[in-house]
């Protein structure tokens, strides 16, 4: 798999049932321009099959196995570009639009002027447990979009810090305002 550059990482984690699956078809045209692409689409039976092959004897895989048990879909698209300017905000406008729909709340947004990175994390709220999780990461030469659908426990997610999933000190989801798309431009 190649890894695409600067892809906003949208990770949807659903509350009480399914989070919405993002429509990521609009990103497919970027593959032709990218120098490296990662494209993971796992849902339904394929996701369950993948989980079955995770080893319960390996502590890391066992953690992932537990986390994945309640997930319905895992979608990751990363694009790396050799040059700046190979993709633009208009390429991800539809994704931002989807995340602006009711139920999605942006809980983290960090920009690095030095690296010109922009990272946004969204939660799909609306029930007692946090819903879908979306993460968008953009960089002049890299674009990452991750969409994870299904019920997930944020505490379990933060326990995966040693696997590269950081311990996020986020309170249980409060009713949140919809994301302000203009902040992300």
């Amino acid at each position: 798999m190649k890894i695409l550059g600067g892809l906003a990482l949208f990770v949807l984690i659903g509350t009480a049932g399914y989070g919405q699956v993002l429509d990521l078809k609009g990103l497919e045209k970027l593959a032709a321009k990218a120098s490296d692409v990662t494209d993971v689409t796992l849902d339904g039976s394929l996701l369950r099959l993948a989980a079955k092959f995770l080893s319960a004897d390996d502590p890391d895989q066992a953690k992932v196995k537990k986390l994945v048990a309640e997930l319905k879909g895992v979608y990751v698209k990363t694009y790396e570009f050799a040059h700046e300017g190979e993709y633009s905000e208009s390429d991800i406008a539809s994704i931002r639009s989807q995340l602006g729909a009711p139920g999605w709340s942006r809980i983290v947004g960090v920009k690095s002027k030095k690296d010109r990175d922009n990272t946004e994390i969204y939660l799909k709220t609306g029930g007692a447990e946090p819903g879908g999780l979306a993460i968008v990461c953009t960089n002049p030469k890299e674009l990452v979009v991750v969409n994870i659908v299904g019920k997930i426990d944020l505490d379990e997610l933060s326990e995966l810090g040693d696997l590269g999933v950081p311990k996020i000190d986020i309170e249980k989801a409060k009713p949140a305002k919809p994301a302000d798309k203009k902040d992300n431009d």
Partner: protein, 109 residues
């Protein structure tokens, strides 16, 4: 204060493998290739009772190949899942690091 690049050169300095490494490479080169069957041996295989032979083939096709296919798909899906979780974790980690570094949350809850 230390110089990270110098420390990396020290940490990543070359090391030698086990003392018999070269001998083991040569030993693998010297392993004889399996002999090709003679035409007579090939003919003998074809002359075996076809019913048993084809039953065996049918069993292999119906059991082993599908099982191998499932295993291949499962392993591949597992690897994709782990890559996906790694990418997710990496980006979350980077975001968290930046939040800690800047000491602020840039978005509203």
């Amino acid at each position: 204060m230390s110089n990270l690049e110098d420390d990396l050169r020290i940490a990543l300095r070359r090391e030698e493998p086990a003392a018999d490494f070269t001998e083991r490479v040569l030993a693998r080169l010297n392993q004889p290739a399996p002999a090709e069957p003679t035409w007579l041996e090939r003919l003998a295989v074809l002359m075996r009772p076809p019913r048993l032979q084809w039953v065996a083939v049918a069993m292999i096709v119906s059991v082993v190949i599908p099982a191998a296919t499932v295993e291949y798909r499962g392993e591949r899906a597992k690897q994709q899942l782990l890559v996906a979780m790694r990418v997710t974790g990496t980006k979350l980690h980077q975001a968290q690091r930046k939040v800690v570094e800047t000491g602020r949350m840039g978005t509203r809850l």
